[in-house]
Symmetry: C2
Subunit: 350 residues, 2 copies
């Protein structure tokens, strides 16, 4: 018995080769199917492979090829539908290209984000997607630019998804998301309905997405006749509980507003909850609008008016770019458009 597969011994290519009575090179050729091998030889090899239930060791191969078959994805939070939709789109493409995805959740912390980029570099990811809002702080931008260069030097590729390229490098590709226009769309929408006092629920300060959406909103609102003094901007993490808390507090403080514009759908849903808890009707008493059009937006009651963003397509486009593009590119934003459901209406007659 040539039972090399006994407990303790790790079976390698050599074990398989010995059992099949061929050289390791031949086994490699059969397994990678990249070189002619006589049918009878191949058969013996296959038998031996099955006998040992042998699977190749990617690490050994990666050392030789300097390719790992890994697509790295860095998001703030996998369980946030904004990100999970993007991830889904990216994974479909990655899978089709024979890549496995390594997903990292940074908790929207830029330092954590940088740490994950290094980890992904350690793993020699063939490409890395960095998804969502980025910090506007110059040092952090510079650090990111450095990582981009490092990734490029490794022969790998960085793609920024929904955030602008950091200054100081041309090594990163970008797949844009039209945050400014999204903000403008909801600003115009509310202004057009006649709202003049609006509560804007912004994301964390100092991030690219927060700034772009807010700037767009203010422009859109002003174009529609809303005074700057008619917009009250409050900041916080872009989740449901924050949306709820910010609106509840506004209500407690006796703030007056006929509409809540949230910088994303989760905050808008939180706003819906807070308003309901306060006994206010949407949209009769207060209108609510979000951005993203995550799947739930259609299922809450009243259905949430929002801006549709092509999330899974965005992820797919990014993965495509990451895995195939020859050099750094900027892919313009796919179209964003307003989806009017039941949460917005004219303000109540004062």
């Amino acid at each position: 018995m040539d039972e090399l597969a006994v407990a303790g011994h790790r079976v390698t290519l050599i074990d398989v080769a010995n059992r099949a009575g061929v050289s390791p090179a031949t086994v490699s050729r059969v397994l990678n199917n990249n070189y002619p091998v006589a049918a009878s030889t191949r058969e013996r090899v296959v038998e031996a492979v099955q006998h040992f239930d042998y699977v190749l060791n990617v690490h050994a191969g990666a050392l030789v090829h300097a390719r790992s078959g890994i697509l790295g994805i860095v998001v703030a939070d996998v369980s946030d539908p904004f990100f999970s939709e993007i991830v889904r789109g990216a994974q479909d493409v990655a899978e089709a290209a024979g890549h496995l995805t390594m997903i990292c959740s940074s908790g929207a912390d830029p330092r954590q984000e940088l740490a994950y980029l290094t980890l992904l570099r350690n793993h020699r990811a063939d490409a890395v997607l960095l998804v969502g809002a980025g910090s506007e702080q110059p040092e952090l931008q510079a650090a990111l630019a450095r990582q981009a260069d490092g990734i490029a030097r490794q022969g790998s590729r960085l793609v920024l998804v929904g955030r602008p390229a950091p200054v100081g490098t041309d090594a990163a590709s970008v797949v844009e998301l039209d945050n400014h226009r999204s903000g403008a769309l909801i600003g115009e929408h509310l202004a057009g309905l006649g709202h003049r006092r609006i509560r804007y629920l912004a994301g964390p300060t100092g991030t690219t997405t927060t700034s772009a959406r807010l700037a767009g909103f203010l422009e859109g609102a002003r174009a529609g006749g809303v005074l700057r003094s008619g917009v009250e901007v409050v900041h916080g993490p872009q989740n449901r509980d924050t949306g709820r808390r910010l609106v509840r507090r506004a209500l407690e403080d006796g703030a007056v507003f006929s509409a809540v514009a949230a910088s994303n759908d989760l905050m808008a849903i939180g706003a819906l909850v807070a308003l309901r808890e306060a006994g206010l009707r949407v949209p009769d008493d207060v209108s609510v609008v979000g951005i993203d059009d995550v799947p739930v937006a259609a299922d809450v009651t009243p259905g949430l008016s929002t801006v549709h963003l092509p999330l899974s397509e965005l992820g797919a486009a990014a993965a495509e770019l990451a895995l195939t593009a020859a050099s750094a590119l900027v892919q313009p934003a796919l179209p964003a458009y307003l989806v009017i459901r039941e949460s917005t209406a004219r303000p109540p007659a004062a």
Copy 2:
């Protein structure tokens, strides 16, 4: 100039060692911080590392240690909140343990699932989590058992999350999810309210979760006085659109029922939509209940009555088990309990 970092040349430990004027071993010790190194030496090494922006190659290390620092996770769909909550819990633990997660979406296809297990074996994942319903087909169960043995033979560990261990192996750990009881809870709840004609929206046939939840439901309902003939069971993929379609069709067919019991929340939400579209009120005309208590369940209107399952805790427990347990274990289910919101009530007086 010792510019070894010129385009083309991949910088390695050796380059760093040369620049710092030390041996490769010393650089390794500094980088891994696992051995005493003189402060002055360390300083020179650090300088050289920064100079080259050098990052270790995990693959080389993995070859030596036979450890990769990877936790593999196989789910049906990352963008389904049931899975993404579990993933989040698992990731938190994995990160704390210094592991990166490799996430694979099988689309609920058992063959795809097996293929991913092999891929994860290729990558020498330190542990693998297989999450959610499994096939009941004997061949597939056997194939899974074989993979479990293979994984164990590699010195790695397989943890089944929310599905029973396949027969024919003792190499897999299990973190249970009380699917049977969850079904029973909603069965008893609807029966207790007085419902006698119920539409049960089951998952795909031939999967462990579908069977367990359905069996539990039938038992719970019967215990509460519902005749077997009072329950109509229909099957389909467990997503929102299927829930909507199944209920819409039932309505079109003139089926009579005062309650819809869905085998998960997404289907229940689909049911809510279909009922609303048909002009029926929930819970006045029809009650709706789900299972899982995904975050959205609280945000739809009316709030969805459901069974709370500790999803992120489940993921965390699984990762814990995967990364630390000495041998295969079975961890009993964390408690599941009914959450009564606004979607269930007594049936309308006939």
